[in-house]
């Protein structure tokens, strides 16, 4: 039985007090929700505009109001134009992007998982120093790296090949950082010791015992690397010159440059917009379905710091 230190109040006053409370809570709730709603409009407006614009013909893009559909619903024609323009090069770009992002992400995640596991579970000379160097490299401006990487790749003749995009994206210092924290928390030392007593070799322990536990962390790194490679612009811009090797970002930017140079007279503007819409759908789907993983990854990163 709790002892009340409040002076006894009449039920009537009490009820009035309660309803007053309820009313202020209701006001605060709607104020906060309204505040966030305003910003939700801001964050989603460009997406809405993009969807609307992808349904318009090129003349309508200039003449009809930007934030609402024109009378002529042209989305499927735009889509058809998109995939047939310039000999269907857009499809090549989609394929290239998927190929670079998949190879880069699977490789980067696997390599980071193995390295992160070693940092988390082995004591070895040089561990602190090597890890500090890797962490420090996250601070290095990526563009300071891109130009010398280009020069080095051109020395060994890898310029203008898919490998020039895939190989550099395989090294993910942030992935190693994330996997180390994850492995420290997720893989119990007792489990590894038990497997050692049973006579399993360290490689076997990693592949058949630890890796299964590390899967959620692996998926997180996979997702972040996939997005990073999918969205990469600067490195492909430097190392690729043949449009048949372009990823979507580079291809869309090149169409946009052509469209702007021609003053929008061509149908390229609608193609850039429809293409942008098509190119972001896979990422949005990935983020919506893999919420648990990216939120978990950002949680790990923020708590450890």
């Amino acid at each position: 039985m709790a002892i009340s230190i409040n002076p006894p109040i009449s039920t009537e006053a009490h009820e009035a007090h309660l309803s007053q409370n309820k009313r202020t809570r209701w006001t605060r709730q709607s104020l906060a929700t309204a505040f966030l709603l305003v910003f939700l409009v801001y964050f989603l407006l460009p997406f809405f505009w993009l969807i609307v614009s992808a349904t318009k013909t090129n003349p309508d893009l200039f003449t009809s109001f930007g934030l609402w559909f024109a009378s002529d619903f042209n989305f499927f024609n735009n889509l058809g134009d998109l995939f047939t323009h310039d000999g269907g090069v857009f499809l090549t770009w989609v394929w290239n992007t998927a190929y670079y992002a998949t190879c880069g992400a699977v490789g980067a995640a696997l390599i980071a998982t193995i390295a992160g596991f070693a940092f988390a579970k082995f004591q070895f000379p040089g561990r602190t120093l090597v890890f500090a160097i890797i962490l420090g490299s996250i601070m290095v401006p990526s563009t300071a790296l891109a130009i010398p990487t280009y020069l080095l790749l051109s020395k060994i003749g890898l310029i203008n090949t898919p490998l020039a995009v895939i190989l550099p994206s395989l090294a993910s210092p942030f992935g190693v950082f994330l996997m180390r924290i994850y492995a420290e928390q997720a893989v119990p030392d007792e489990l590894l010791d038990a497997a050692r007593v049973d006579g399993a070799g360290e490689m076997r322990i990693f592949w058949s015992v630890a890796l299964r536990i590390l899967v959620p962390g692996f998926v997180t790194v996979l997702l972040f690397s996939f997005v990073a490679t999918w969205n990469n612009y600067f490195l492909p811009l430097l190392v690729l010159s043949d449009p048949t090797y372009y990823p979507l970002t580079l291809g869309l930017a090149s169409w946009n440059a052509q469209a702007s140079a021609n003053g929008g007279a061509q149908l390229l503007f609608t193609l850039v917009l429809t293409g942008s819409l098509v190119s972001i759908i896979p990422l949005i789907v990935a983020f919506l379905f893999l919420q648990r993983y990216w939120q978990g990854g950002l949680t790990l990163g923020s708590i450890r710091s």
Partner: protein, 319 residues
């Protein structure tokens, strides 16, 4: 009999030698377990790391001490490229612009992110999942595409803002003009990264054990006071992290201005940002050596800025 003795002697020497061998084997085994095995696990990453981080950095540092001369080819010039960079007004114009950008855009973005995170964490608002996902969504799309999108929205000929202005008989807003461009780019970056920073701060807030502020709530502290005196100090490490990443990101801005350049070539010159300048030096003027020196100087500025920031925040936290 003699044979027997010989055999025993042999056996004992054998025993001693196997013991020695065993010890050596054990030492080898330990060494293999302690050193070889971990580095075997690290080998794939370290190899790539050396090839694509250490080697390019070393190479860039190396060539930044050389210069291409019309007469005599590539010659060692020592620190001359760096001295030139220090006197290069094009470079410093870009650095000043990015510092101005950083001082305005980073606080605006992080304040918004913090307010959103606090509101979502306190549970006051409704539709919280919708807000969390909606705010984060811009992060998922390539910065090139977001720059393209906003570039179209800013357009004075068919952008919706210009259309609204003209229907109200107002002049079109000057998003892509000399005076408006930096703010327009700042808006794109804020739009893209606020949600990302919000999620980091929100995750840190969610990790605070509720016991830490339940007592304050019982004592009648308002939500604002709990946020100001309990929650924000506790997530200071996450705030510092988001600040440092934002400082690094804003000083090396490239994608957004390079897309905007196609829309407003008169406004964005070849040295609008230091990174754009380094790129144009390397790929339009073929001045690789000087470009490397510019990149390194920029890297040093980024490092100094983040270091000063961490020093200041650390000292304040220790107080």
């Amino acid at each position: 009999m003699q044979k027997q003795r010989q055999l025993e002697a042999d056996r004992s020497t054998l025993a001693v030698s196997t013991m020695k061998q065993k010890r050596v084997l054990l030492r080898q085994y330990r060494w293999r377990q302690r050193v070889v095995l971990p580095y075997l696990f690290l080998a794939p990453f370290l190899l790539l790391f050396l090839l694509f981080f250490i080697l390019p950095l070393g190479y860039a540092l190396g060539i930044s001490f050389y210069a291409d001369r019309l007469v005599g080819g590539t010659v060692f010039v020592g620190s001359q490229n760096y001295l030139q960079a220090f006197q290069d007004s094009s470079f410093w114009e870009g650095v000043r612009r990015m510092l101005l950008f950083m001082v305005v855009q980073v606080p605006v973005m992080l304040c918004l992110a913090l307010i959103f995170a606090l509101i979502l964490d306190s549970g006051v608002a409704k539709l919280r999942t919708l807000f969390r996902l909606g705010f984060f969504l811009p992060y998922a799309i390539p910065s090139v595409v977001s720059a393209l999108l906003w570039g179209y929205l800013y357009s004075p000929s068919f952008g919706p803002f210009a259309q609204i202005a003209s229907s109200l008989h107002l002049p079109a807003p000057g998003f892509l003009t000399d005076s408006g461009m930096l703010a327009s780019i700042g808006n794109i970056v804020t739009w893209q990264w606020t949600g990302y920073n919000m999620i980091i701060l929100y995750a840190a807030l969610q990790a605070i054990p509720p016991e830490l502020y339940e007592a304050a709530l019982v004592d009648g502290a308002t939500g604002w006071k709990v946020a100001r005196y309990i929650k924000i100090p506790l997530i200071a490490p996450a705030l510092v992290l988001t600040c440092v990443f934002s400082i690094i990101g804003s000083l090396q801005l490239f994608n957004e201005p390079s897309i905007m350049k196609t829309l407003a070539p008169d406004v964005i010159g070849d040295h609008y940002t230091p990174n754009l300048y380094a790129y144009n030096l390397a790929f339009n003027d073929q001045q690789y050596n000087y470009s490397a020196a510019i990149s390194f100087t920029l890297g040093a500025i980024v490092f100094v800025c983040s270091y000063i920031f961490m020093l200041v925040t650390n000292r304040r936290r220790l107080r």
